[in-house]
């Protein structure tokens, strides 16, 4: 079937170019932050990765919804890959966030950073997604249950964020907020390029991983068909 999507190679090269441009923008063009100094550079990778993780979970949920709405068999692998990639970027968000917390406040973990805590909750939730998926027999039942769970995940994101903000009111009355640093033009440009590059990179990874999983499935079916 003709694949109307932009070809993977074009996207891959695009991602490489964009990441290179982002690196230049971050380390050369963007000035150093006035008060945080050089460690503020982590901002340019940590926040885009977090936003990409949200996007992947959203993609996984959207494909899950399509699976439930149209019984389309192909959406299961797409939802699974989306959630898988979202979890990878989620872990990356936690790690880079911890490094930034260490650089900024000298502690590896802080419950007052709402976004970090949210990613911890989501990490627990989506690990359970894979536990669930691997303990149900392959077939329509597994696809539908995984899809429903992926949809719950997306509903959990805003609810948990609100809950964590509420929780911080009584765990740390003195809420330690760090508003976004006042960004100069170049800083903001560097952030946008970095965000675009990481999002595109994630999409390329999604397409490559999906191709791998589809080939795997096709091969199993072929092997079973050719079996004497």
């Amino acid at each position: 079937m003709s694949n109307t999507k932009p070809s993977l190679t074009v996207l891959a090269w695009g991602a490489v170019a964009l990441v290179a441009l982002a690196a230049v923008m971050i380390f050369v063009v963007a000035p150093e932050d006035a008060d945080q100094g050089f460690s503020q550079k982590i901002f340019y990778v940590h926040v885009p990765i977090a936003l990409t993780a949200y996007a992947c979970f959203g993609l996984g949920a959207w494909k899950a919804f399509r699976l439930l709405a149209t019984r389309g068999e192909r959406y299961d692998l797409e939802s699974y890959t989306g959630v898988h990639l979202g979890t990878i970027f989620g872990v990356l968000t936690l790690v880079t966030g911890a490094i930034w917390a260490k650089a900024s406040w000298g502690v590896w973990w802080t419950w007052s950073s709402n976004q970090l805590v949210l990613f911890l909750v989501l990490f627990l939730f989506y690990c359970a997604y894979f536990m669930l998926r691997f303990s149900v027999e392959p077939g329509p039942r597994r696809e539908r249950i995984s899809a429903v769970y992926a949809l719950f995940g997306v509903a959990l994101i805003p609810v948990s964020f609100f809950a964590i903000r509420l929780a911080n009111d009584f765990i740390h009355p003195t809420v330690f907020t760090r508003e976004g640093p006042q960004m100069t033009g170049e800083m903001f440009a560097a952030f946008c390029v970095s965000w675009a590059s990481i999002t595109l990179l994630a999409y390329v990874m999604y397409r490559v991983e999906l191709a791998g999983k589809r080939t795997d499935a096709n091969l199993r079916e072929l092997r079973e068909a050719l079996q004497p």
Binding site: S39, I42, I49, T96, A103, G212, T215, L219, R223
Partner: protein, 56 residues
């Protein structure tokens, strides 16, 4: 390297490492797929071609 530089290097380093690990995992899958397709080709060749089977 000042401590700030170390942390920035660590953050970007982790990002690059994770992407490379992902690439390595994909590479492993690719080589497995290559081996499996090879086996399937043998299986396909071993089967009598459908046409011959008719009068075989």
């Amino acid at each position: 390297m000042s401590s700030a530089d170390q942390y920035v290097a660590a953050a970007y380093g982790v990002f690059v490492v994770v992407v490379l690990v992902w690439v390595a995992v994909l590479a492993a899958k690719l080589s497995r797929l290559e081996r499996e397709t090879g086996e399937l080709v043998q299986l396909a060749r071993a089967r009598p071609v459908a046409g011959e089977q008719a009068d075989g």
